[in-house]
């Protein structure tokens, strides 16, 4: 089988699992990010700005672990562009750790100004605040150097897409950094426009301003997406899913807030996907079980939830219509023995995947050195790739 055929076979495997069709084996979507660097014998600071080394780390992973798809091929958490522009940044890293500081581009009062002209707002507010006095000194040479790094980054993304093709690995979904992801308003509010703290306060003290922003976001950012979905011809079998959405902001909300700021808009998005019979993956960071009731009426096949902290067996009981991605805990991969890891992997496959509806994956993005032990990861990947239900 050549790599093209292998890729098509893997896509079919994912799509069958999402649609609750019985599969010969359980597909494994590796939720592996920067852990690959440690596993290849390097540290984060060595690989983060070195595309050649990053590619070596990715290849080391792909050659060692039999998987069916992977979240990241070294293109996330890239620092060349921002470092070329100068000091300052919300993301940070050292040899062992990568992280992000909670930050806010707006206050609840300036959200409309941001929406009026995001480029102007970036130029006049965000960049001067981020870079301080050095913003005034960003001259032609700095911009040129930054743009050159940016083009190198784009070329690396394209290069790694070819590497994926060579290994017969399908992409997660058409969402990627080049095409723009589907981001509900509250997720953008939490991740960068207001940050966790301001959003939490605003939901209590300035709900009307949030409503106004969300309505505008819907009209200006989401409506074009709804139009694209309505114009689609159905599932795109180049990818594992037709769309991938990240949910995190619900963790800061009570049900009343969820019903006001999140659910009406998410429902509209999901209903639109459902009209076209598409397969959607939602990475439900934190826990989603508290909100299970909202998703009960969707037909099998529409939704796959990639679980982070929820128990997958409890989740299956609560939402039998939603496919599960995940299950393998980094806690076990890090602290267990290979035998314990394989026994748990077998239980996941047997109990959750017998009639489709299960994609094996790690519950958290494998990022840090201690997120998994190599021998455990190897034992689990070998088992899942060979196990027949």
């Amino acid at each position: 089988m050549n790599s093209k055929e292998l890729k098509a076979q893997r896509v079919q495997l994912f799509r069958d699992a999402e649609n609750f069709r019985k599969t010969e084996r359980i597909p494994h979507f590796a939720n592996a990010v920067t852990w690959k660097i440690f596993d290849a014998g390097h540290t984060l600071d060595e690989a983060m700005t070195d595309f050649d080394l990053m590619e070596k780390c990715v290849l080391h992973f792909l050659d060692k672990y039999p998987i069916d798809a992977i979240l990241d091929v070294g293109i996330r958490n890239q620092f060349n562009v921002t470092e070329a522009f100068g000091e300052g940044g919300y993301y940070y890293y050292n040899s062992e750790v990568i992280g992000i500081h909670d930050h806010a581009h707006c206050t609840v009062e300036t959200l409309q100004e941001y929406m009026d002209d995001p480029v102007r707002y970036a130029w006049e507010k965000i960049l001067p605040e981020k870079y301080g006095e050095s913003w005034e000194k960003k001259d032609k040479a700095v911009w040129k150097k930054t743009f050159k790094e940016y083009i190198r980054y784009i070329m690396f993304i394209l290069h790694m897409a070819k590497v994926m093709d060579r290994y017969g690995l399908p992409g997660l979904s058409p969402n990627n950094p080049m095409k723009g992801a589907v981001v509900p308003a509250v997720e953008s509010l939490m991740s960068d426009l207001l940050g966790i703290q301001q959003l939490s306060v605003a939901m209590r003290r300035s709900p009307d301003l949030l409503d106004a922003f969300i309505e505008r976001w819907e009209k200006e950012r989401m409506e074009p997406i709804y139009e694209k979905i309505r114009a689609s011809k159905g599932p795109d079998y180049k990818y594992c899913f037709d769309s991938s959405i990240l949910m995190l902001a619900h963790n800061t909300m009570n049900k009343k807030q969820f019903e006001r700021f999140y659910w009406p808009y998410l429902k509209k998005l999901l209903d639109t996907y459902a009209e076209k019979g598409l397969n959607i993956r939602i990475f439900t960071e934190g826990s989603i079980l508290r909100f299970a009731e909202y998703f009960r009426d969707y037909p099998k096949g529409l939704l796959t939830f990639h679980l982070e902290q929820d128990d997958p067996f409890e989740f299956r009981q609560a939402l039998p219509n939603v496919a599960i991605m995940g299950g393998m805990t980094t806690d076990l991969l890090s602290n267990g023995t290979p035998e314990e890891c394989v026994a748990y992997a077998k239980r996941l496959c047997d109990e959750l995947g017998r009639d489709g509806g299960f994609i094996f994956s790690e519950n958290k993005m494998l990022s840090y050195r201690n997120d998994a032990r190599s021998e455990n990861m190897k034992a689990v990947c070998d088992f899942v790739s060979e196990y027949r239900i």
Partner: protein, 42 residues
């Protein structure tokens, strides 16, 4: 010394004109928006 690229919209236009190569002009708006997204960690 203060750069010529810090005001809006003049500075923005200068970056678009001076930094992006001619053959990339058809997609320069997209390129700049994505670059800004990276620079603002947006």
């Amino acid at each position: 010394m203060k750069s010529n690229y810090t005001s809006y919209p003049e500075g923005y236009r200068r970056v678009m004109r001076d930094i992006i190569p001619f053959y990339m002009r058809p997609v320069k708006d997209m390129l700049m928006r994505l670059l800004l997204t990276i620079l603002t960690d947006g």
